[in-house]
């Protein structure tokens, strides 16, 4: 089985690293493409032994499982470009936040009658094989196609199938989650430094504390509330600290964060559906390079990029 990545950024690198480390795929069975060869991740991919090309079409041709690992606004351009090369054997896996299966299927169906599409939401810790991934299968993707993806993604962490309407919530929780954790760890380390620890040690200990706590929770039948209680001796240090967290509304801040990320994902999807993403959202150099590959694309106006604009009226979104 060979795997291709359209896009050679953080996600492609993380997944490629994870798959090869897990031994499910040899590097030479992986192809990644991007018009931008200056990306720092490109050299990382090359060093690993992944086949790198500037041609997205080459990636499609040499892959069975095709990951769309580009930012959400770029997806329509990519689909327009590689659509003609998609064959029945291909499993197209989109990792783009907020991009629906139906939007991808609609786009591809102008080229291929029954495209196999799977929508996936993963997160950056796939790079250390502790990713959190969910996927939803599209209209023409079989159970085996889903299982194949699940096998791949399970090699780099936790992976489970969900209904598509939950994916935005997953984005808010585990998609963005590592960022919340990094923020917390930075602050915890600051606390350690304030109380006298050298920075490096503070970071190391903070990270280990979170890692250990997460592991305990995953391996325990107990509720996190119970595990918390187990750490809090009466009148001790921990309960004093927790009181501060509660006073600051720690819990509600986290709830707010997950909610905000989920809502924003939906908003972006809405904007995409209504073709309201501004060109500023897309790097100009990238846009130019993509346009070079696909002369049929056009920028409708200076203020608005018509995402699904093409010569064929049937594919125009309203």
């Amino acid at each position: 089985m060979s795997v291709g990545f359209i896009g050679a950024g953080q996600l492609a690198l993380a997944l490629a690293r994870g798959f090869t480390a897990a031994g499910v795929l040899a590097a030479h069975k992986i192809t990644a493409s991007s018009p931008d060869t200056d990306l720092p991740t490109v050299s990382g991919l090359r060093k690993m032994g992944v086949n790198f090309t500037v041609s997205n079409k080459d990636t499609v041709k040499s892959s069975d499982v095709l990951f769309l690992a580009v930012k959400p606004p770029i997806i329509p351009f990519i689909l327009e470009e590689v659509g003609p090369d998609i064959e029945p054997r291909h499993i197209v896996v989109s990792c783009a936040a907020g991009v629906t299966i139906s939007s991808i299927e609609k786009k591809l169906s102008t080229f291929c009658p029954t495209p196999k599409v799977i929508r996936c939401m993963t997160n950056t810790p796939v790079i250390v094989r502790e990713g959190a991934t969910v996927y939803a299968t599209g209209t023409h993707a079989d159970v085996e196609d889903g299982k194949l993806l699940e096998q791949l993604m399970a090699s780099v962490g936790f992976c489970t199938e969900v209904e598509e309407d939950l994916i935005d919530a997953v984005t808010g929780l585990s998609g963005s989650g590592p960022a919340y954790a990094f923020t917390a760890l930075d602050a915890l380390a600051d606390g350690g430094v304030k109380m006298g620890l050298p920075r490096r040690l503070a970071v190391r200990l903070g990270a280990q504390a979170l890692l250990g706590a997460a592991k305990m929770l995953l391996e325990s039948e107990q509720h996190p509330g119970q595990l918390k209680d187990n750490v809090c001796s009466p009148g001790g240090a921990t309960i004093h600290a927790l009181h501060f967290l509660e006073s600051g509304g720690f819990r509600s801040l986290l709830i707010n964060a997950v909610e905000a990320s989920c809502i924003r994902t939906r908003e972006l999807q809405h904007l995409a559906d209504q073709e309201k993403i501004s060109p500023a959202a897309i790097k100009k150099t990238l846009l130019d390079k993509v346009k070079l590959e696909s002369p049929s694309l056009s920028v409708a106006s200076a203020n608005k990029v018509s995402l699904f604009n093409s010569k064929s009226p049937s594919s125009k979104k309203n």
């Binding site: 509720h223 509330g225 119970q226 509660e246 006073s247 509304g249 509600s252 709830i255 909610e259």
Partner: protein, 244 residues
């Protein structure tokens, strides 16, 4: 039904409250010493500032067979033992209001002269009024903050729940009764299942449902921290008052 009313003797300087006792079938008197002479188990149920005077008064009548249980807030075992004959079996009890409906929460601590037998007797007797546990004396002030005063926090919460319902269109009387039953039911589940409240809370929260939306509001208002502050404030106040 643990003790027949006729075996209970209560004393007070005036008749003001004694009628209620007599109505239940208890004997009454105006003489504190008489209580010591007629009883083995003696509860001191006066206000704290009166207690030292009462102890002085009854001291001559206190013997090694007596078990003296003080319910005066802020009066330590050390003080009680100092004001009574050496070796007197002394215990300190902190009940809470719902004892009157046999759903109380009580803690007691034993003095140096008190043995397992007396502690067991008291616990067995008081279990008829609710939950009764022996604790180190240092927990008594905490119990005040948690459960002595805690009853008031619950009333406040119940009132707020009912007001929310009234705002949404329910008549007040009905809202009050439902609020009370909700608290009773939730508490009963906690006590009977022994499950962690966090787990019980999660069990009620359907994904994206009404409960989780409401809980988010409570978290935004830092309810947890506020409640912790309340328990802390009451406990600290109990400690301060004890020093006076």
């Amino acid at each position: 039904g643990k003790v027949p009313a006729s075996s209970i003797l209560a004393s007070a300087p005036s008749d003001r409250n004694l009628d209620t006792w007599r109505e239940s079938g208890c004997r009454t008197t105006h003489c504190n010493l008489e209580v010591l002479q007629e009883s083995t188990l003696v509860f001191l149920a006066t206000k704290p500032h009166i207690l030292p005077g009462v102890l002085q008064e009854i001291r001559p009548a206190v013997g090694p067979h007596h078990i003296v249980v003080s319910m005066a807030a802020g009066v330590s075992l050390q003080t009680l033992q100092r004001l009574l004959p050496a070796g007197t079996k002394v215990l300190r009890l902190m009940p809470n209001l719902p004892c009157v409906v046999q759903a109380g929460a009580m803690v007691f601590a034993r003095g140096s002269g008190t043995g397992d037998g007396e502690a067991a007797l008291l616990k067995s007797l008081l279990s008829s009024c609710g939950l009764c546990e022996e604790v180190p004396e240092s927990y008594i002030n905490i119990h005040t903050g948690l459960s002595g005063s805690g009853v008031a926090y619950v009333y406040l919460f119940a009132e707020a729940l009912a007001e929310g319902a009234v705002k949404m269109g329910m008549p007040g009387g009905l809202a009050n009764r439902i609020a009370a039953q909700t608290l009773l039911g939730a508490a009963k589940m906690m006590l009977e299942t022994g499950e962690h409240p966090a787990k019980l809370r999660g069990d009620v929260c359907t994904p994206g449902g009404t409960t989780i939306h409401a809980l988010h509001q409570l978290e935004k208002g830092a309810l947890r921290a506020t409640v912790m502050n309340a328990v802390e404030a009451a406990t600290n106040r109990a400690c301060d008052m004890a020093k006076d």
